[in-house]
């Protein structure tokens, strides 16, 4: 027993290191090969260049795809955050029958196979007679973004001291005024965090966009299309690296804001002072 106990810390840390390597090693190859002079991703690197990055802004199809992704991302982020605010507020503020099942249903797209969701959405859209476009992609992305926006916003709204809103009403403020002067400023960081998270998810999302877009490609679809040509691979790697860093940055900022919001809504009442 004591021997196992003595070795256990050593084993646990090597396990942790292996686990992290398994998670991130493939990701690390992306930036490495994106600065390789050779077109084939192979060690040893034949030389270091930023040539592939310089080529990116000179590709019109890529510029179009970037614009499409931005349009879809911003629209999906705003829509899902607005819907998420309403849902999160209802879940955290009111007690009503069916509150938990409703919460579960909203969160469900998180675990549904995306391919199935995408196919079902495609069927519905076609039945409704909607022609496939960026708009249908936005609708699909709203569906997958809402669980994330809900999670971020609930953690921001949870523990929101209700007496703050009552105090505002008590001091003569109307319901709308209270929302504008108390609720909104306090949960603003959570809202911004939700916008960033949803934007990032939409930016990176492939399957739903693939099924629901018409002729307009988003960035992941553009990347998918480029993979058919071996010569284009380094460009794809460069683009992928940029997307990776952008996502990482956005998510970090979002998480910092979410924590700030969660901290702010806890009323630092006299009990803790």
């Amino acid at each position: 027993m004591t021997a196992i106990r003595r070795f256990l810390p050593g084993w646990l840390s090597s396990y942790a290191v292996l686990y992290l390597l398994f998670l991130y090693l493939p990701v690390i190859f992306l930036p490495i090969f994106s600065i390789n002079t050779a077109a084939t991703p192979k060690f040893p690197l034949s030389g270091v260049t930023l040539h592939w990055y310089e080529d990116l802004p000179r590709t019109p199809a890529l510029i179009d795809a970037t614009w499409n992704s931005l349009i879809v991302g911003v629209s999906a982020a705003i829509l899902s955050t607005v819907l998420g605010i309403l849902a999160a507020r209802s879940i955290t503020r009111y007690r009503y029958p069916g509150r938990r099942p409703i919460n579960g249903l909203i969160m469900a797209p998180l675990v549904l196979p995306e391919v199935i969701v995408a196919i079902s959405m495609l069927l519905v859209m076609l039945q409704l007679g909607l022609s496939l476009s960026l708009f249908t992609v936005v609708l699909g992305h709203v569906l997958v973004c809402i669980p994330y926006s809900m999670t971020v916003l609930t953690s921001g709204f949870e523990g929101f001291d209700r007496s703050l809103e009552e105090a505002s009403a008590d001091l003569g403020e109307s319901a709308f005024g209270t929302f504008r002067r108390v609720t909104l400023p306090m949960v603003a960081p959570a809202i911004i965090s939700s916008l960033l998270v949803c934007f990032t998810i939409s930016l990176d999302e492939f399957i739903i966009a693939f099924f629901l877009t018409g002729t307009e490609a988003t960035l992941p679809i553009y990347i998918w299309g480029q993979l058919r040509f071996a010569a284009k691979l380094p460009g794809v790697l460069a683009l992928g690296t940029l997307l990776l860093f952008a996502s990482f940055l956005l998510m970090t900022v979002a998480e910092i804001l979410r924590r700030r919001a969660a901290r702010r809504t806890q009323n630092e009442g006299g009990l803790y002072a």
Partner: protein, 372 residues
């Protein structure tokens, strides 16, 4: 009589809050059960009771955060039915203080003034005045998160007082403070109330707080108002055992009613013999028995050869030391429960050995009769 003198000293006898047959039920549970109450203008009024007695529910209904299931509430003669919290002439100090964390002290205090659209100078003057009233002058620019518990409380007070409400509602405002600060704030709150002359309605479960600050107290149990009276009256003449018990220690002695007339009662007890007491206003006999009560501090140890006109003899069975006082448990022959006696320590009550036979003197005025 005492009550009338007191109210003349403060304000003319004008009703500020009229609560008529108010009931608040949640399904089968009645948080408040047919409560009626008049609170006078300029009065410091306390709603006192254990948690769940309905005191906070009542306060929130006066503020407009809750609606009576039946009955009505009027403030300054105006019925409050259907009037939302933001249009009532009341302001509240919340238990959690509810200081807006994203605003500084000044902005917190000025929050409600914004809607009155005063000119900038006037708004600033009123904020300064309110901060001065609660001794926070100079802290206007502090962030709400940088304040101590006591300071938060003052900000909450200033934020409500600056609105010049007809009624200030206080929901357990001192419960989050430590003992010393709490006692200091009790004195300050009382002083402030007398200075501004606004009607204060305080909710508390702390009987000492209620006794120390109030002009009158309503004691509540299980959604009902048990007694409304001045602190002295409530403490000395509780209407029943529950009220007596809640307001501090009380010795209860079984008694048999020998004679009952308009103003007095004659009771037979085992330990105290035959006693004649005032009949409480609300006394309704329930069979032939009643309870006689006496507060522990109204019994005093008779030293050596000292005598009193009224005394009982017994034996010390327990002794508890509390610093400035000693708590003695004294067994009296014939009484089924020993008596509690609190004695100040200046004569050596803290040195009485357990087992000593002692005599206790009392004033018959201190005996209070309660219906069973």
């Amino acid at each position: 009589m005492l009550e009338r003198i007191q109210s003349e000293r403060t304000q003319p006898d004008r009703t500020m809050i009229e609560i008529r047959d108010v009931t608040r039920s949640y399904g089968a549970f009645k948080a408040l059960d047919n409560a009626s109450l008049s609170i006078r203008e300029g009065e410091f009024f306390s709603l006192l009771g254990p948690s769940g007695c309905g005191k906070t529910t009542l306060l929130r209904m006066i503020a407009g955060f809750d609606t009576p299931t039946s009955g009505s509430i009027a403030v300054d003669g105006q019925p409050m039915d259907g009037i939302p919290a933001n249009r009532r002439p009341t302001n509240m100090v919340f238990q959690s203080y509810a200081i807006f964390p994203h605003l500084n002290v000044e902005q917190n205090v000025a929050y409600g003034l914004r809607r009155l659209r005063l000119d900038a100078g006037e708004e600033k003057r009123r904020v300064e005045e309110a901060l001065a009233q609660v001794s926070l002058t100079g802290l206007g620019k502090r962030r709400a998160t940088e304040l101590s518990g006591g300071q938060r409380q003052r900000v909450a007070l200033a934020r409500a007082l600056v609105m010049r409400p007809k009624v200030l509602l206080l929901d357990e405002p001192l419960s989050a403070l430590d003992k010393k600060l709490r006692e200091q704030m009790q004195v300050e709150l009382r002083r402030l109330q007398q200075a501004v002359g606004i009607t204060f309605v305080l909710v508390t479960h702390d009987q000492y707080e209620a006794l120390a600050m109030s002009d009158r107290i309503a004691v509540m149990f299980g959604g009902r108002i048990a007694q409304v009276a001045s602190p002295k009256e409530i403490y000395q003449r509780p209407v029943n055992r529950q009220v007596a018990d809640f307001l501090g220690g009380m010795n209860f002695v079984k008694a048999e009613i020998v004679e009952e007339n308009g103003a007095s009662l004659v009771l037979d007890t085992l330990g105290f013999g035959r006693v004649k007491t005032d009949k409480p206003k609300a006394f309704v006999r329930n069979g032939g028995n009643a309870t006689l009560g006496i507060r522990p501090e109204r019994l005093r140890v008779l030293w050596d050869n000292a005598t009193a006109k009224f005394e009982v003899a017994g034996k010390v069975v327990e002794r508890h030391y509390f610093g400035e006082i000693t708590h003695l448990i004294v067994e009296i022959p014939g009484l089924e429960k020993p008596l509690s006696v609190t004695e100040t320590n200046d004569f050596g009550a803290d040195d009485i050995p357990v087992g000593t036979s002692i005599r206790l003197g009392y004033d018959p005025e201190a005996l209070v009769a309660m219906a069973d």
